[in-house]
C-alpha cells in the first residue's frame, strides 16, 4: 500500500454529507507550469505584470464568447442543491469544494467588475477585488474540480461548474499561471502525437508485441495495425492503452472484436491519443489544435470510419465537440456516425449476433460497472438518450454471468467521479485524488460486501489509472479495476483466420521443441 | 359626482319607502293592506335569542283532515318553496323525489286495527338532533330557542344530516334557484328544512304559516307555542291530552308532538 502523508478517510456504508470545514484543502495545489510548457500553447511563461487587468480583460472576452459563463455567473440563487453533490466536497469537507463555493470564487470577481450591485455594494452581494489571495484560491480550488458535471445534474439551472473551472483555468493560463501536468502533456501531443510521448516506432513495436502475446494466448493471429493506409476504420485510443495495465487488456479486446468483425482497421501514430487535454484547461484553440490531428490522420490514412477507444474525457470531446472542432466529416462513410465509440461498435456486433462468447471465461469475477462521468453526463452512445448507460451494461451482461449495479444514487447520470478527472491525475494532487474517490469507493465497497463483487469495469483511461492508484489506499487491490473490453476479449470465441494455420504449425513446432 | 346622484326621482321615492314599511305616506295607505300588515306588526328582534323559550308544535291528528293540505301549501308559499321549478327534461316522478319539501302530508293505516290517520310531518326540532351531531361544519345547528336549522353560509352540501335524520325532514336543493323571497334565501347545493318560520319568530309574530293556514281552514289541528312556558296554550294542551313523539325509542325529545297516533 502506498504511504500517505494525509489521513485516508474510512469508508462508510453510505456517503455522509460532512460538516463544513473551511480551508481544509487550501494547501492542495498542483505544480505550476514552467515557461517551456506554457509557450507552445501560446500562453505567457510566467505571471505577467499587470495580471489583474489582463485577467479581467480575459474574463470580459470569455463572457462575450461563452453564454454558459455569463448565464451561470448571473443565475445562481444559492439554493444549495449542488452543495452536497461534488465528490471533492464529500471527501474533503472544504466548502470551497462545494460546486457553488467553487463558482463563487469566480462569481465574486465577476460581480465586483461586471455588475452594478457589486460595484456599488460589494459587501452586500459578496463581491471582491481580484487580489493575489483570490488568485491563489483560484489556483488551488479550480484545480480541485474534475469537471465531472455532477453538480450540473442537480442544479435547477443546470449550472455546470466545469464550465467555470475551465474558464478560470484559461484566464489563469492567459496571465501565465498554468498547471504543469496538463500543459506539459499538451505540449507533448503537439510534439510527438500522444500524452505519453511514445514515438511512432515505439508504438509499432509495442503493437507487434501485443500481436505475439495474443497469438500465444489464443493461437489466433489477431492484428494490431498502425498507420495502414486504406483501412476501413481509424481507431483513436488513449495512449495509456498501449502499455499500462489494465488499459492494455482493453486494447487487446478491441483488436479481437475487430478481428471477429472482419473489418480492416488501423491506429495512427500522428493521432495516437484520444484524450484531449485542451478541454481541461478550457482552451478552445488548444482543444481544436489537438483535434485537428485526428482529421489529418483520417485524411492521410483514407479511412471511412473513426472509432474511439475507452476514454471518458476523450469521448466527450469526440462525441460532443469533434464535429465542431474538426468537422465537417463529409469525406467519411455517411452511414456511420462520426465518431463512434468502441462500445457502440461491439454492441452492434453483439446485437447482430456476429460475436460468440464463452461467458464462463469471466466466471472468476463478479462485476460492477463504473459510469465514467464524462460518458454519463456529457455524451451519449447509440441513438436514444441514455444509451451510454445501457450499451456498456448490455455488453457486460453479454460476456459475464455475474453483474450487479452499485447503489442507484451513484450510477448512471448520478455517478460519482473516480476523483482523478479533469487534469488532476497527477501525483502532486494525491491527497485530493484519494479523498475525492471516497464516495465512489463507498458505493463499491457496499456491493463488494453485499453482492460479493470482485471487479469493477470502466471505460475511461483516467478512471482506470486513478482507481489502480487509489484502491490500495482503501485496502482494495489495484487490479480490481478492469477495462470493459478486457471482459469482452476474455470471453470472445475467436475464429481462426486463413493465415493462422501456417503459423499454428510453427507454433506447434515450437511447442514441441519446448516440450522436449 | 355625488351631486348627480342626488337627483332623485321623487315620484318613486315614497312608494319605495312603503316597501320598507317605515313610513306611511299617502301612497302607502293605498298600497297598504296586503303589504304592510306583516311588516307593521313586526317588531324585529334586537337581542340574541335565549333558551328561555323552546318553540314547538302539537299536532292533533284527530283534527287533521284527510284530503286537506292547507298547511303544506301555506308553508310552500311562506317559504318560497313553490318557486322551485322542474328543470327542463327532468321526468316528473324523479323531480318529485328531488324537490325540496319542508312539510308533507302522511296517511297511515294501522296494520292491526285498520284505522286510518293523517298527519303533517316536518322537522321535529329534536332536542338532541342527530342532524346537528353529524354535521361536520356545524352548519346544522340548534338555536337557543330550540329551532333546529341550517346555516346555509356554512353548509357544504355533504348531506350527512339527511342520512342522520330519522324523519326524512331535510331536503337538498338540487337545482339553481331564481326569484327567491327576501326573507327566505335559498340556493343550489345546500340542505334545508322547516325552521318554524324563523323570520316570523324574529319579527315577533305569534304563529307559523302552517298553523295559520290550518286555522284558516277551520281545522285547528296544529298548535304552536313555547313548550317551556307552562301557561302557553301548547303546554296546556299537552297537559290535557295524551301525546307522543314519533320514534320515541330514539329519545330525541322532539319539539313537535303528535296526539292520536
Amino acid at each position: 500500500m502506498a504511504k500517505a502523508t494525509f489521513v485516508v478517510p474510512e469508508l462508510t456504508q453510505y456517503t455522509e454529507v460532512p460538516a463544513v470545514t473551511s480551508g481544509a484543502m487550501a494547501h492542495s495545489l498542483p505544480f505550476v507550469s514552467k515557461p517551456e510548457f506554457q509557450e507552445p500553447l501560446g500562453f505567457p511563461g510566467e505571471l505577467v505584470d499587470d495580471w489583474q487587468a489582463k485577467a479581467i480583460d480575459k474574463m470580459d472576452d470569455l463572457l462575450g464568447k461563452y453564454r454558459s459563463l455569463r448565464v451561470y455567473l448571473d443565475s445562481c440563487v444559492k439554493c444549495g442543491a449542488c452543495t452536497d453533490k461534488c465528490h471533492y466536497y464529500l471527501g474533503t469537507s472544504d466548502p470551497k469544494n462545494m460546486p457553488v463555493g467553487r463558482q463563487d470564487l469566480m462569481r465574486k470577481v465577476y460581480r465586483r467588475y461586471f455588475t452594478l450591485a457589486g460595484r456599488f455594494f460589494p459587501k452586500l452581494v459578496g463581491a471582491e477585488d481580484f487580489t493575489k489571495e483570490v488568485l491563489d484560491d483560484w489556483y488551488s480550488y479550480f484545480h480541485q474540480c474534475s469537471q465531472c458535471r455532477r453538480c450540473s445534474v442537480f442544479c435547477p439551472y443546470g449550472i455546470d461548474t466545469a464550465e467555470i473551472s475551465m474558464a478560470a483555468r484559461e484566464i489563469m493560463d492567459s496571465i501565465g499561471v498554468g498547471q504543469k501536468y496538463c500543459n506539459e502533456i499538451i505540449a507533448k501531443v503537439y510534439k510527438i502525437g500522444n500524452n505519453l510521448g511514445l514515438p511512432g516506432p515505439a508504438l509499432a513495436d509495442t503493437l507487434e508485441g501485443l500481436e505475439e502475446d495474443v497469438f500465444d494466448d489464443t493461437g489466433v493471429k489477431v492484428r494490431f495495425p498502425i498507420d495502414e493506409e486504406g483501412a476501413e476504420i481509424l481507431l483513436v485510443t488513449p495512449s495509456a492503452d498501449f502499455f499500462a495495465e489494465p488499459h492494455v487488456d482493453g486494447l487487446i479486446g478491441y483488436g479481437k472484436v475487430f478481428h471477429e468483425a472482419g473489418i480492416s482497421w488501423t491506429l495512427s501514430s500522428h493521432a495516437s491519443e484520444a484524450a484531449n487535454f485542451g478541454m481541461f484547461i478550457g482552451s478552445y484553440e488548444n482543444m481544436r489544435r489537438v483535434s485537428q490531428r485526428i482529421r489529418e490522420a483520417a485524411i492521410k490514412l483514407k479511412v471511412k470510419r473513426i472509432i474511439f477507444g475507452e476514454c471518458g474525457h476523450a469521448w466527450r470531446v469526440a462525441y460532443s465537440f469533434l464535429n465542431t472542432l474538426a468537422g465537417p466529416w463529409d469525406f467519411l462513410d455517411p452511414r456511420y456516425p462520426v465518431p463512434q465509440h468502441i462500445c457502440e461498435f461491439t454492441h452492434d456486433l453483439i446485437q447482430r449476433g456476429k460475436l460468440t462468447f464463452d461467458k464462463s471465461e469471466n466466471d472468476d469475477k463478479v462485476l460492477t460497472y463504473h459510469d465514467s462521468c464524462n460518458v454519463a453526463r456529457a455524451s451519449r452512445m447509440g441513438d436514444v438518450p441514455g444509451g451510454q448507460f445501457d450499451i456498456p451494461r448490455d455488453i457486460i451482461r453479454a460476456v459475464c454471468n455475474h453483474f450487479y449495479d452499485m447503489d442507484e444514487d451513484t450510477i448512471r447520470d448520478r455517478t460519482f467521479c473516480c476523483g482523478g478527472g479533469g487534469g488532476l491525475l497527477t501525483d502532486d494532487l494525491m491527497e485530493l485524488r484519494v479523498k475525492g474517490a471516497k464516495p465512489r469507493l463507498d458505493a463499491l465497497n457496499n456491493v463488494i460486501q453485499e453482492k460479493g463483487v470482485t471487479h469493477m469495469a470502466a471505460i475511461c483511461a483516467i478512471c482506470k489509472t486513478q482507481f489502480s492508484k487509489v484502491l490500495p489506499y482503501y485496502g482494495m487491490e489495484m487490479d480490481q479495476i478492469i477495462s470493459l473490453h478486457q471482459l469482452v476479449g476474455d470471453a470472445i470465441v475467436l475464429t481462426p483466420g486463413p493465415d493462422d494455420d501456417a503459423e499454428d504449425d510453427d507454433l506447434d513446432d515450437e511447442d514441441d521443441l519446448n516440450e522436449e | 359626482m355625488k351631486d348627480e346622484n342626488k337627483a332623485i326621482d321623487d315620484a318613486v321615492d315614497p312608494s319605495r319607502r312603503a316597501f320598507m314599511g317605515v313610513a306611511a305616506g299617502v301612497t302607502a295607505a293605498v298600497v297598504a293592506p296586503g303589504v304592510l300588515l306583516h311588516a307593521v306588526s313586526a317588531a324585529p328582534r334586537s337581542e340574541a335569542v335565549t333558551a328561555d323559550v323552546r318553540w314547538g308544535l302539537l299536532i292533533d291528528t284527530a283534527k287533521c283532515v284527510d284530503g286537506c293540505s292547507a298547511c303544506v301549501t301555506a308553508c310552500d308559499q311562506e317559504n318560497g318553496l313553490d318557486l322551485q321549478s322542474k328543470p327542463e327534461g327532468q321526468p316528473p316522478l324523479k323531480w318529485e323525489s328531488q324537490k325540496a319539501a319542508w312539510i308533507r302530508k302522511v296517511k297511515l293505516q294501522d296494520n292491526q286495527t285498520g284505522r286510518v290517520t293523517t298527519l303533517p310531518m316536518m322537522c321535529q326540532h329534536c332536542e338532541h338532533p342527530p342532524c346537528v351531531d353529524v354535521c361536520p361544519t356545524g352548519a346544522s345547528f340548534k338555536r337557543a330557542d330550540g329551532i333546529v336549522m341550517v346555516d346555509r353560509h356554512l353548509c357544504i352540501g355533504c348531506r350527512y344530516c339527511m342520512m342522520a335524520c330519522p324523519y326524512k325532514a331535510r331536503s337538498f336543493i338540487h337545482e339553481e334557484m331564481h326569484g327567491q323571497l327576501t326573507a327566505v334565501p335559498r340556493g343550489k347545493g345546500c340542505v334545508e328544512s322547516c325552521n318554524l318560520c324563523v323570520h316570523r319568530r324574529d319579527f315577533g309574530e305569534p304563529s307559523t304559516a302552517c298553523v295559520d293556514a290550518c286555522a284558516a281552514e277551520g281545522h285547528q289541528a296544529i298548535v304552536f307555542g313555547d313548550l317551556k312556558d307552562p301557561a302557553s296554550p301548547i303546554s296546556q294542551l299537552l297537559k290535557e291530552m295524551p301525546s307522543r313523539q314519533i320514534r320515541e325509542d330514539l329519545s330525541l325529545n322532539t319539539g313537535v308532538r303528535y296526539s292520536g297516533v
Binding site: 442507484e408 | 319539501a101 297511515l108 293505516q109 361536520p136 348531506r159 336543493i173
Partner: protein, 416 residues
Amino acid sequence: MKRIVYREWRIPPARYWGILGILAAVAGTAVLAFGYMEHTGHWVTGMNNSVVWGTPHVFAVFLIIAASGALNIASIGTVFHKPIYKPLGRLSGLLAVALLMGGLLVLVMDLGRPERLIVAMTHYNFSSIFAWNIFLYTGFMVIVIAYLWTMADRQGGPFNHPVGILAFLWRLALTTGTGAIFGFLVARQAYDAAILAPMFVIMSFAYGLAVFMLVLMFTFRDEGRPIGPKIMRRLKNLLGVFVAGVLYFTLVYHLTNLYGAKHDDLEHWLLLSGGIYTFLFWIGWVLIGGLLPLGILYHPELSKDRNWIVAACALVILGGLATLYVIIIGSQAYPIQMFPGQTILESGFLDGVNGQPGPYNPTIPEVLLGLGGVAVASIITVVGVRVLQFLPESLADDVVPIDEETLSEEAFAKPA
C-alpha cells in the same frame, strides 16, 4: 440479509406517457362530469332526497377503505415483523396515500358546495364523526408520508418502527372512523349494528390487498421485474384469509340482524325481495366478491397461475364495489320505519308508501366521477413509482428476506 434495491419504474417513455394519457383522459372526463353536475345542480344525478348518497360515495368509500387496507402490507412488515413483506412497504405506503387522495377527491367533488371546502377545513363540529374523519384523513396522509420517509431515508431508519406502529393504529382508527360514518346513523336500520366497524376493517384489508396485488403485478410485469413464487404465494394466501374474513363477518352481521327481531323486515327485504339490492348482495357481495375468489385462491392448480390470481383480485374489487353499493345505497333505499305497526298509504314525499324502497338509478356523470377518483389514485401511483424509488428491483425468491418470526431486531434497524 441481502439489501433490497429500489429503483424508479423505468418503462419506455412512450408507454409511460401513454398510460398517463389514458388515466388523464379518464380523470378529465370526471372533471367534465363534475363541472356538469356542479353547473346544473344535482338534479342530473340519480340522487334525491331519499337516497342522498349515490354512486360517487360507493367509489369514494371503496377507495378510502382500500387505502387503509393497502397500508396493511407495510404494517405487517414493520409492526408484525414479517420481513418478507418489507420490500413491499414503500409501494404499500404510496398506494395508501394515492387511494386516499382519489377517494377524498370524489367526496369533495360531490359536495353540493365544493367551493366551500375551506369552510369544512376551518369550521369543525367535534361531535361529528365526519369532522373527526377530516383529521383522521389528513393525519393519515401526514403519517404515511412520514412512514415512507422512514422507509426510504437512512436518517429515518430509527423511527421506522414507532412510526409504523403509529401508522398502524391510525389506520385502524381511520377505517373504524369510516365505518362509523355509517355506524352512528341510528336512523337507518341497516347501519344500526356494532359489527359494522370491524367489518369495515376486514373489508379494507381485503380490498386494499387486492388493489395492491394488481398494481404490484402490473408494474412488475410491465418492466420485466421478477416476482418470485414465494412472495406470490404469501400474498394470495393472505388475500384468501381476508376474503374469508369478509364472508364470515357478513354471516355474523346478518345472523345478528335476524336474531334481533326488530330487523326481521329489513333482512327479509335485503335477502329476498330487494330487487337489485338482493341481486347485488348474492351475486356481487357473496359470489363475485367472496366465493369465486376464494375458490380460485385455494384451488390447487388455478392458484399457481398469475392470470387467475389477477382475476381473483379483480373479482374481489368488483365484489367490493357491489358490497358497498348494497351497504350504502341499499340501506338508504330501504324505507325508514317511522311508524311501527302502521302502513303508509300516502305521503307527500317518498316515505316508503306501502313499504316501497326509495328510488335510485345511477347516472353516467356519477359513475364517471367515481372512475375519476380511481384514475387520480392511479396517476399518483404511476407518477410516484416513476420519479421515486418505490418499487424493489426484484422480488425473486432469492432476494426477498427469509420470513423468520425470530429475526433479530438488528435486521429492522437498518431499513433498506
